[in-house]
Symmetry: D2
Amino acid sequence: MPRPGFENEQQVLDYMRKIAIGQSGFSTFLGLEPVRCWEGHAEIEMAVKPEMTQHHGFAHGAIVGMMADNACAWAASSAVGDVVTGSYTINLLAPARGDVLRSKGTVVKAGRRQVVVRAEVWSEAAETDPVLVAIAQATIVPTGIPSAPMS
Amino acid sequence: MPRPGFENEQQVLDYMRKIAIGQSGFSTFLGLEPVRCWEGHAEIEMAVKPEMTQHHGFAHGAIVGMMADNACAWAASSAVGDVVTGSYTINLLAPARGDVLRSKGTVVKAGRRQVVVRAEVWSEAAETDPVLVAIAQATIVPTGIPSAPMS
Amino acid sequence: MPRPGFENEQQVLDYMRKIAIGQSGFSTFLGLEPVRCWEGHAEIEMAVKPEMTQHHGFAHGAIVGMMADNACAWAASSAVGDVVTGSYTINLLAPARGDVLRSKGTVVKAGRRQVVVRAEVWSEAAETDPVLVAIAQATIVPTGIPSAPMS
Amino acid sequence: MPRPGFENEQQVLDYMRKIAIGQSGFSTFLGLEPVRCWEGHAEIEMAVKPEMTQHHGFAHGAIVGMMADNACAWAASSAVGDVVTGSYTINLLAPARGDVLRSKGTVVKAGRRQVVVRAEVWSEAAETDPVLVAIAQATIVPTGIPSAPMS
């Protein structure tokens, strides 16, 4: 299920950088880096900056949630085109102490009215193993707009 | 169920501004303003800035999610003290087109191991009625630390 | 938002008893009694029987979940017609020790592709106050079939 | 993480049949068959009976939800002992048309206060491939009771 309107993954990643990230004030602030977005899978990487922390110095829960939600939305869009997030459930598992966050989304079922996606978010640091900091389960809604950017 | 360790709501709001917001890089970036935090209820207000938008110019879904999560965590902390978010489910209902976001959290049940909270997020603009943009249901976990700041 | 294809609530309740309950082996086994189903609100009542209990003698969590899900689906159907449940999140708050379960669902937003609903489930007994045993938040999906029974 | 108080999986399965299923009116009615329950994994099998169907003749959503919830609770109990379900989110993906339901739960993180679990539910029939009919993400709460039966 490659993304409608795109010939290959590189086109999708270029599009994401230019539109979904480049035209979003928040995503530009965050410095999101799309690593993968093709055939129901998405991966996003982001360096944690001081402006993203909660009061213990870890990445803020909303930042972790954003990584999960984005991975779900992009994974869904890779299968069905333009989407909006309908809902998601996130379980926060551990503090995000690392300096990089990485999230991966996988489409479980791409229906006409709903795309159900699971995601994981890892916190990474130079000299330790990645730590699974959150898992999510999302309902993503296709807009039916074939080539418009996803939110 | 007033917050353990605080005598009145003003003390709680001062504490939130100083610690939970003032020592959090992300909350300071956001400019969160606590309006209420007492006896199981919390209300937060925030002006939407360009750095918080998605590519259509609305407040980003992660920002809306943060408003919901924070209202849940603060409502829970007003009843049981220091907490961390365990999980939440958010349904996004409408684009957040306004220039102010407001969220309200209400404790449904404060247990020893879990506090269950509901929240609503509204988008507000000068000349229109507030729009309900999201609802959430959260499981907030007491840390057992009596007077430490909430995350 | 009265249910499409029905003139009044009594018609809806009759239809529910005959089709959604009467033609469902499980709902007949349960003995569900629809109390309300109109304009985005639904209420269901059910007597707890020994075949519905878990090993401590309380109503089984799946029975409580069914009450929540049904209230959500029926509330949604009262606004938009035939529906299926897309997803729901349920928080179980207390053991359902009573001999009657009652659930109420309220539509928060009825969209074209999704209806978002909240529900509460109470456990009732003769000489005590009702106990709130669960809350839920659901995404219900309209099937677009105008007059077919809901699942 | 083998279940506290049990020496091997067979002891756990025997215990489940005798207590969690045998003393539960609902689980006995359902005819639940535990297939696996050890070290963070659980699998349950159940034959679908006419009394478990909705009005289209498929397994009722509440039955599917029960299979998901039970797999989560049992997977959690295999790691931490006695538990109760705190909350779960379920996405229903397809009608359960088969005559057997099978659910599998896997612990993602076993914490002291919460165990986070994912589950899948399949519908099986003699001459077709299993169909994934639901996925769930649950927060299961350890009761701290070492050897008491789980709910």
